[in-house]
């Protein structure tokens, strides 16, 4: 593979404003129930007794997740038509909407909720990394829209050299499943992947379709 683009997600900076999600929705002209980029709010904690005082360890942080353009994508493996494919030129995972039959297998397989069924179109749709913008030297529209500068885009090896190799914190799955092309800067309150102490505070904003 010539190149593998990916996202850097700064969960320490992200305030969960969802400008990225809406910029994408506008640029890609998405239906109400389709969101290529979604902001997960992972929250938890409670009160703890410490002698005669009670302190809390409450936490909440945000993760802006679109497609992670995985090195080992679960979606392309299950696709029966080949519509879901990994582009050889930039490593971005995209769906060929002319071929897709709308069987939703990719949606079942992806643990990030990236492929989403568009009932109006009758087939799957997903974040394609704005490869047309990228080929013109531009960033994906979500990255440029972020008022916190919490998102970056670039060749994933450069992102890793700059920001490290962390690709999973709760509630994301272990990176071993699909080897996502993302780098995460964890929030100071971040919990490790597999954590069970928190919960998804905005399930209706993140979940869709197969629910």
């Amino acid at each position: 593979m010539a190149k593998q683009y990916g996202f850097y997600i700064d969960s320490a900076k992200c305030t969960g404003c969802k400008t990225c999600q809406l910029a994408c929705k506008d640029y890609k002209d998405l239906q109400v129930d389709v969101n290529f980029r979604r902001v997960c709010e992972y929250a938890g904690g409670s009160w703890q007794a410490d002698g005669n005082t009670w302190t809390n360890n409450v936490f909440a942080y945000y993760l802006s997740i679109a497609c992670n353009h995985c090195a080992d994508p679960a979606c392309t493996k299950v696709c029966p038509s080949g519509a879901m494919h990994k582009r050889s030129e930039d490593g971005l995972v995209a769906v060929n909407e002319e071929i897709c039959i709308g069987c939703k297998s990719c949606q079942m397989a992806c643990p990030y909720g990236a492929p989403q069924y568009d009932a109006r179109k009758g087939h799957m749709t997903k974040c394609d990394g704005c490869y047309e913008r990228v080929s013109q030297g531009l960033n994906p529209v979500c990255v440029d829209s972020c008022p916190l500068r919490a998102l970056e885009f670039g060749p994933v090896d450069e992102l890793r050299a700059k920001h490290g190799a962390l690709a999973a914190v709760a509630p994301l799955p272990d990176a071993k499943y699909t080897v996502p092309s993302i780098v995460i800067k964890p929030n100071p309150k971040a919990r490790p992947t597999g954590d069970k102490t928190g919960f998804l505070a905005n399930p209706k904003e993140v979940s869709h379709g197969v629910e």
Partner: protein, 283 residues
């Protein structure tokens, strides 16, 4: 219950029952030592299997967003489990129906028909393999277990066995014993195995979970639905056993009723299966 996947609930259960019925009918044709009349009645009755496959495929296409592009599903044959399932499933139904036509119109030699029967049998196994491997997604922990293909095979033996017994009854096959009572005996064993599979699954669910979802919470009515499922299955088996015991031949009407009960029961079980969908991540 995974009602949102109702087309797949119907498709998988009906197709698996068609498979199981075909296995028994093939066994009867190949090794049953049938009389000419029994053979021709059974051959004619096997149309039921191909109608079931046709109905199953209609339901499966209801799952597609773009059913008119369904042919694209075979593009990744050999690579994608769903492509394998579609190719082998179509071949199973296509060769089976072709053979039925050949027998009905008296076309082709005995050897050609036997060859086609063996080919159809092989396709049914490919179909089962494709269907099972589709659900073994490493990212879907509640499906990615040996219990999934086991449950599919048991559905074929219970529901498909009931279909086969009804076809045998309508072909007036009361001998040998392996055909007269074999399907109900094997279905009985399969039903016990299905109870064990359900116990094993319910024991495994508490250990499956992500940061967002706990498998044990996905189907809060798991116990009730499974109890209802087994009520239907045991009722089917009871009637079937009673109707074919003590040298009696199963009445076709009883057989049809048992088939309906068994398939309804298995559809409830399949609904629970789809309801247990979750991923290791956000969904």
């Amino acid at each position: 219950m995974g009602w949102n996947e109702w087309p797949l609930m119907l498709f998988t259960v009906i197709a698996q029952c068609a498979m199981g019925a075909f296995w028994w009918c093939s066994f009867a044709l190949l090794a049953g030592n049938l009389s000419e009349e029994q053979r021709s009645r059974l051959e004619r009755g096997m149309l039921v299997i191909w109608v079931m496959m046709g109905v199953a495929f209609v339901f499966s296409s209801a799952h597609l967003g773009s059913p008119f592009r369904a042919i694209n599903a075979i593009f990744r044959f050999g690579q994608s489990p769903l492509s394998n399932e579609v190719v082998f499933g179509s071949a199973f139904a296509g060769f089976g129906f072709l053979r039925w036509l050949m027998v009905a119109r008296n076309i082709g030699s005995e050897a050609a028909r036997k060859g086609l029967l063996l080919l159809t049998l092989a396709c049914s196994l490919g179909f089962l393999w494709g269907m099972s491997s589709f659900y073994l997604m490493p990212t879907v922990p509640t499906w990615n277990t040996p219990l999934t293909p086991t449950a599919f095979i048991l559905t074929a033996l219970i529901g498909g066995g009931a279909v086969a017994a009804t076809l045998f009854a309508s072909a007036r096959i009361s001998e040998p014993a392996v055909l007269a009572t074999g399907p109900v005996r094997l279905a009985g064993v399969a039903l016990i195995a299905a109870v064990l599979v359900t116990l094993a699954q319910s024991a495994s669910l508490p250990a499956i979970g992500s940061s967002i979802k706990q498998a044990a919470e996905l189907s809060p009515d798991y116990a009730g639905l499974m109890a209802f499922r087994f009520l239907l299955l045991f009722a089917a088996l009871g009637l079937w056993r009673k109707g074919s015991g003590r040298g009696e031949t199963l009445a076709v009407s009883t057989g049809v009723f048992c088939v309906i009960l068994a398939m309804l029961g298995e559809m409830i079980g399949r609904g629970v299966f789809y309801g247990l969908y979750m991923t290791v991540g956000l969904l």
